[in-house]
């Protein structure tokens, strides 16, 4: 069920697009749904970010993964236990750009004895990195459709991405890598008993959806070619708020509907880890809580048991034990 439901959902979305295109619902598929989805994305994303931003961080709780900066002659590890904002920026950059924490990953093995051994396990790091970076580069390549004139980096990316030149049109490396990444991430969820046990439908759905988006996009590029110029005209119309319905190949509408589904789903799902990672207090705070006072906006008034209360209770015992008293 956890696997079947998301699979059915993705197929249903694709079928909906094909059916819609066959029925000539180009305005609905090409204009209404993308607008609604984009609005949901913007609203949902901002709402989530706002929700996190307005929630206080009561305590300074970085997870230190290296030596603190304390004594001047012991070198602190600025990237693993940052003492300054610069260090925090470095730590966050490593986390966001190259998945520092996943790079650390180990696999524990229960050995006879029993005993435990640990080995480095970089597979999740590698496939995660392949997937996310390919996705980003592919997204950036799409600026060819979003902007006129085409931004400078697009040509550069295309050239780099198409380095292999094995097909016509030029095959993009990122197309292969994103499929490899997704397949591997999907496979480990299905194959590893641990992963299968913890996975929810909400873990399979985005993988399947993004996989289908990639496949439909590649379909358009390599197999059922669509009129690229018309696609660009259509997208430009949407972006400039002069939307028009266009008759473009059905694959395009499948692609667009799946992308719309992803955009609408994004803010209400685990995909918000994209925004959330920047807010994580165990990573984005400096390990400086003995140097600077971290303020908790709701710091409650708590009545402590004062020394006077204590002495009043134990006065006689303290006196006979020779402990000095304030009362004397």
């Amino acid at each position: 069920m956890k696997l079947l439901a998301p699979l059915v959902a993705v197929f249903a979305l694709a079928a909906l697009a094909l059916g819609g295109a066959a029925a000539g619902q180009y305005y609905l598929l090409g204009v209404v749904i993308p607008y609604v989805a984009f609005a949901l994305f913007l609203f949902g994303f901002s709402y989530k970010i706002y929700g996190w931003a307005k929630t206080p961080v009561p305590f300074n709780i970085p997870t230190t993964c290296g030596q603190q900066k304390a004594l001047p002659w012991i070198k602190g590890n600025e990237l693993e236990a940052p003492s300054s904002t610069l260090g925090v920026l470095g730590r966050m950059a490593l986390e966001v750009l190259v998945f520092r924490s996943l790079f650390r990953n180990t696999k524990a093995n229960l050995e006879p004895g029993p005993d435990l051994s640990y080995e480095s396990d970089k597979s999740l790091w590698l496939f995660g990195l392949l997937f996310h970076w390919s996705f980003l580069l592919i997204f950036l390549r799409h600026y060819r459709f979003f902007l006129e004139p085409v931004p400078f980096f697009v040509g550069f990316l295309e050239k780099f991405d198409g380095l292999l030149q094995i097909t016509l049109p030029t095959f993009y490396l990122t197309d292969a890598l994103i499929l490899l990444g997704i397949s591997a991430l999907f496979a480990r969820r299905v194959i590893s008993p641990k992963m299968r046990y913890i996975s929810l439908a909400a873990d399979y759905f985005p993988l399947m959806l993004i996989g289908a988006i990639a496949l439909s996009g590649m379909g358009m590029r390599y197999l059922h070619k669509v009129d690229i110029a018309l696609v660009k005209t259509h997208i430009q119309g949407l972006i400039t708020f002069h939307p028009e319905a266009h008759v473009i190949g059905a694959t395009f509408y499948v692609h667009l509907l799946l992308v719309s589904a992803l955009a609408a789903y994004f803010p209400f799902s685990k995909l918000m880890h994209m925004g959330g990672v920047f807010f994580s207090p165990t990573r984005n705070l400096a390990n400086d809580s003995r140097v600077n006072r971290h303020i908790n906006p709701w710091n409650p008034q708590i009545k402590i048991r004062t020394y006077a209360d204590y002495e009043a209770d134990f006065k006689d015992k303290m006196k006979s034990a020779g402990i000095p008293l304030d009362a004397d």
């Binding site: 996943l102 999740l124 590893s192």
Partner: protein, 551 residues
Amino acid sequence: MSKFVAKPAELAEAIASQASLLTGETPQTNWMETPAEFKPGNYCYSAKPEALNGLGLPHAREWDPAEADWKLPEDWMQRLHVGMKERLGKNRAFKLFMEICVRCGACADKCHFFLGTGDPKNMPVMRAELMRSIYRGEFTVAGKLLGQLGGARKFTEEVVKEWFMYYYQCTECRRCSVFCPYGIDTAEITMMARELLHLIGVNINWVLKPASDCNRTGNHLNLEPHAFVSALESICEDLEDITGIAIEPPINKKGAEVLFITPSADAFAVPGMYTMMGYLLLFKHIGLDYTISTYASEGGNFGLFTSSDVMKKLNGKMYHEAERLGVKWILGGECGHMWRVVHQYMSTMNGPAPFLEVPKNPITGTLFEHAKETKMVHIAEFTADLIHHHKLKLDPSRNDHRNVTFHDSCNTSRGMGLIEEPRYILNQVVNNFHEMPEDTIREKTFCCGSGSGLNTEEYMDIRMRGGFPRAAAARWAKKTHGSDLLAAICAIDRVALTASMNYWVPGMEVSGLHELVGNALIMDGEKNRDIDLREDDLERPTLGPMAEEED
């Protein structure tokens, strides 16, 4: 041997022969359909009404986790819902960690309890899902609409029981958060869960009694002032027998330069008292003007394992007493969770402390700028500074009868970054020091298995299982390097590791860092040192008059 755990060979066999997710076997039932089962050894006794009343916590009553009826308040669900909503609005970490996990599984095999039990709900991701599934059902539209398919589930008494079991089967050690790509920290979720459970009177005695006692008497061990002083006196008598040095620690002395606060276990129990001897020798050695307080006689803070309010209440005594005594700054002893509180919470909760000064080592002149806000310095930082400036006369050969390995405590490594200071000291005070395997030390250190207030007899089965990863690493050090002493800078470790080493690695003793410092210190006027602080024979007795020669 405890009746709450099988014999070591039997438990070893049970772990080795298990068929679980740890060994690649899929459990029979989905986790949502697997209820918590309470058996002797796998749960802590419920908190006594006195303990709850002592702290002003609600719904005090007698109840037993092993019985079906937990006598929950009728509106338990409402209380938990409201409590959760309040905390989601007050704590970004909690809200974020409910929403952004992708279940990548990187944390799954990082938890010592999962490695020791194979129980799927001990995978940190799963432990968090126990709460997230309720969060989705109570607070998200998708969860309400999709139910189980959306990762949500019904809020039932079974869930409360499961929370009690698994949020008291987490030691808040934060090892999982090192490996999480978003830094999701299960300790934060466990803390919230424990706070929520207090709202309906579901809690354990071994956390609440010490917290309540600490509030009343100043320490977890419930030592009233005279008893605390006589415990110190008896340590000093032993210390004089061993070294010939007479020490009278100044108690509640106004106008001292430094207030020294350490876990009360160092004043009372073996082997912590040997660490206390080390502190006392050190202070005598350098002529420190210090005092020990009976009112603030606890470094540890079981409030950390209770709620942020109780944590603040207990921690408040430190500054309160420092101000009353008129000291300049505070020196803190060896303790793990104490330092999580002092380093990450104290100044936020109870600061600022303008009546104190930026700590300055009176012997070396070092200004401890890294503690200029809290005005509290860790003893390992202090001693490392002394050694670095050649202010201590040390003879590391007095520890030659020992082969030492070092256990980083969870809180000082992952909640502070105090990693090299103790190693620097060890290298100066012992000649035989070897590390345990790389994946089990520093920021990747394993919990002793009994942290966060779970160090209780009736929980022995789970404690020995949770202590297994650390024990396996210690056993490796014993086999590979001949290590026979596990040094730690944590009072809970000193007690908990003693139990788990006796169980898993016979022949491995446990000590504090400053016990070894104390052994190595060459004291003016000492007698022949032919035994160490725990009265074991030295390899080569050293002659006392050595100090006189130097004079």
